[in-house]
């Protein structure tokens, strides 16, 4: 084949261009640390890297969600643990007071203590994280537990055998402290016959006996009771007056996303965990009743409250166990995501990052090839018959 001038020079040019291009690419990949500078460099790898990056971002986000979950769960757990501690102390106190060895004034003092415990529980129950009440369901801007209006409770009756006495409490309390009105029949009989007396300090001091009237009896501070039926001497009842604590939140569970189809509840609804809903497991109601029983110097009722507290304790223990399990799940998920994150980072790096050793080697190879091409090209260009004529 005839080799002509254009052939020689065109091939020198295109070869040098190609080598320079290769050199530039290797250099760019070393300088930027990235194997690919454009999506057309390796569309399949670039696509895979994009997928992996999305996955990595998701993993990082789920990990962030877990942080939120952990904060909520551990705050809830510690709040409820505090409450459990108070319940335990209350139970110990109730245990003492349920025995007959304590007198009315000692029970009054115990009632005061229970009042403080209730306030403490309310305070703990109204815990906030970053301005959000964690036990209020979705109503995080509202304190979940508030004291309601004063309420005159129905009487707690202790009737002797043969008594048919009935008492209906009523009136609007105008006082400022909770108390229990203790009413005792001095002599038996119905309206206009029987006599009664009452005490506001658990029987330490009594009013003078009076005949049962037809209408309501004013017990003071607006509290009234209407007596009916036929009483037996020694019949007793107490009318507790207190501010019941009510729950202001809602019953929604707050969830976070842990994965594509995986969510996790990270709150406890205050009404279920603590109370305020006047239900069977309302801690506030139990304590309020216990306090009233103490005020009324009624060890038997204190014993009833003790039993109720026992069942509440079992209830909250199971909630604590659930929270603990959730925290465990968070920890496991964190572990999983940490591993996944590492793995994804490694894969992205494997696919997208320049292998410096390999690239440096390649750069050297290209450099040598370029130099060799320059050398041989200059030789080929320099050859001419004219030099010999």
């Amino acid at each position: 084949m005839r080799v002509t001038m254009p052939t020689i020079f065109t091939s020198i040019q295109s070869n040098l261009e190609r080598l320079a291009g290769d050199l530039q690419r290797v250099n760019a990949s070393i300088a930027s640390g990235q194997k690919y500078q454009s999506i057309s460099d390796s569309p399949v790898d670039v696509g895979a890297i994009l997928g992996l990056t999305t996955e990595e971002n998701q993993t990082l986000q789920y990990d962030r969600n877990l942080e939120t979950g952990k904060t909520w769960l551990s705050m809830t757990l510690s709040s409820l643990q505090d409450i459990t501690d108070i319940v335990r102390v209350s139970m110990a106190l109730a245990n003492q007071m349920a025995t007959g060895t304590y007198n009315a004034s000692q029970r009054q003092a115990a009632a005061e203590q229970i009042q403080q415990y209730m306030e403490e529980i309310m305070q703990v129950g109204n815990t906030e994280i970053g301005g959000k009440h964690i036990l209020a369901g979705f109503r995080t801007d509202t304190a979940p537990f508030v004291e309601g209006d004063w309420q005159v409770q129905p009487p707690v009756m202790h009737l002797n055998s043969g008594s048919t006495g009935t008492a209906v409490s009523g009136g609007v309390y105008t006082g400022t402290a909770s108390r229990s009105y203790l009413v005792e029949m001095v002599s038996g009989g119905g309206t206009g016959v029987g006599t009664y007396r009452f005490s506001v300090n658990g029987g330490q001091s009594w009013t003078a006996p009076a005949v049962i009237p037809a209408g309501p009896v004013a017990l003071g501070d607006g509290v009234e009771v209407t007596l009916g039926g036929t009483w037996v001497a020694g019949d007793r009842f107490s009318i507790p007056v207190y501010q019941p604590i009510t729950y202001q939140g809602d019953s929604h569970n707050f969830e976070i996303a842990l994965g594509a189809d995986s969510r996790m509840v990270i709150n406890e609804v205050g009404s279920a965990a603590v109370g305020g809903d006047q239900g069977d497991l309302d801690l506030f109601q139990m304590l309020a009743q216990m306090k009233s029983s103490l005020e009324a110097n009624d060890p038997a009722e204190v014993g009833v409250s003790l039993e109720k507290l026992g069942s509440y304790q079992a209830h909250i223990t199971s909630i604590l166990a659930k929270l603990g399990a959730s925290l465990d799940r968070v920890a496991i998920k964190e572990e999983v995501y940490a591993t996944l994150k590492n793995e994804l980072t490694r894969q992205i790096s494997d696919r997208g990052d320049t292998d410096l050793v390999e690239a440096a080697n390649l750069l050297k190879t290209k450099e040598i090839a370029y130099q060799a091409a320059l050398l041989s090209s200059s030789k080929a260009m320099g050859m001419s018959l004219m030099d010999y004529l």
């Binding site: 080799v3 052939t7 057309s40 569309p43 998701q58 962030r64 929604h252 707050f254 969830e255 996303a257």
Partner: protein, 572 residues
Amino acid sequence: MSGISGILQIATKALLAEQLGVEVTGHNIANVNTEGYSRQRVNLVTDIAVPSPWGPLGTGVKVQGIERAFDPFITARLNAKNSLLSEYQTRSAALEQVATYFNETQSGGLNDLLSLFFASLNDLADNPSGGGERQALLQRSLSLCEAFNSRADQLVQERLSLLQEVGPTIQEINEHTARIAELTREIVETEANGQAANDLRDQQQLELSRLAQLIGVSTYTAGDGTLSVSLPNGLPLVQGVLSFDLTYQVTPTDTVDLIWEGPGGTTEVIPTSILTGGSLTALLQTRDEVIPEYQQELDQLAHDFILAINQQHSQGVGLTLFDEIKGTYPVTDPLLPVSAAGLPFGDQIVAGTLNISIERNGEFLDAGAIAIDPSLSLNDIVVSINTHPVLGAYLTASVEDNALKIDANLPSDTFGFAGDDSNILVALGINTFFTGSKAYTLDVNAWVLENPNLVAAGQIDAGGAHAVGDNRNALALAALEEAPVGPDGLTFADAYQRLVMSLGLEAEEAQGQEIFYQGLVNQLTAMRDAVSGVSLDEEMTNLVKFQRAYQAAARLVTVADELYQTLLALKK
């Protein structure tokens, strides 16, 4: 004629012939770098022998002509491959340009922004009452919208810049065809006396090869040396000494029609699909077929994205309710059924119920449900809100700028949407997060942007309650990241990645083809140059050859002269 004068004659002819050889060699050397030049050589033959007693006697050399070394078959193949190379070069350059807009190898690409958007929704779900989370979501949404907008815009710009190249390319084609016809005329005239017009033919070939780089053509050389050039569908661009122009116009659908202007004012539109080879083909096909495909894919992605997010968002409620709201999508005519009133998401409307909840001073007051049907007009919907037994007392609906507007009657009243299974809110753009319907128009709803508390992270309960800590809607929105969308069941990120990948593959393929045809062209060029190229060493050899022959011929004159002198000396 033999004898000494015969010798002188032979010498003269030889001197002239060898001198011509040097001249042609000089022409070759001078044109060693001339594009399209085919080396020439003097065709020497022996002159007519004269009869002599000893048989025919040679009378020296004769110049038959000057020939050019040219292989029409290799050149034709080279032109065809050059044409394809040029097409792929142009296509690859354009695609590479488009690929840079979607260059996701660097951080901050749309893929990242999409991840960040959903991350913000997750953050909002983690803290639904947080103002910071709401602001972050809005800012990231704006970045995402901007990314969609700018990519759509860049695709439009790229089509525009390709269009700007179409005109000059067509003009160049017309210049080349005119030049070919002109050269054909000159060749015919020059060659009328039987001599080859070598340089004109080289020029004609050069024009042809340049034309082939612009548009794929087929050529046919007639017996008389005239050249016909025609398009792949047979329409002639050059026929003998006539040439026909091409022109173009942009159609109402924003595609380019290539028009052939035939004789006598006849015109014909050339379908882009029949073109093959040449940069014009690549320009037209990239502009009107390749880029629109990605535009459509990007628009579809944006459309699905807006629909999915808005659909979920419209089910929810923000931290505050509305005292007024105006739809972002206007209908063409408030009397037409909403499903056929030009709403971008009008096809989504189904028969269902729209629940509206009313609050007074922040407390739940009342609620009502409006029955929606795709056959209702916007005016019908306005009437059914205004005459609703419950809602009519609190709300006034109206049509403003052809969009639905709802106002609370009292300043103390606010309203929210407690679920809509008819998609009417999505279609009218009420309680939605995004506005627009495609990549270029995607934007964050101004209502939400101005009042971040309207980002619907929560939902209204059956009893009308809604709470600041409610993250149900935010969770549902965040879950859309993994939800399959579109007919292929891909997630948004998957769909975008597929777009990027197919664009990358297309650019890579064009690059690969370019490299392949470059190799082919290099090889054919070497083959063509093996025939037609000038080799300086060869020319040097020829130069010496002709010089020596010339010297020898001159010596022949000297010898003849000496013979004469010898003869004349006899007389003394």
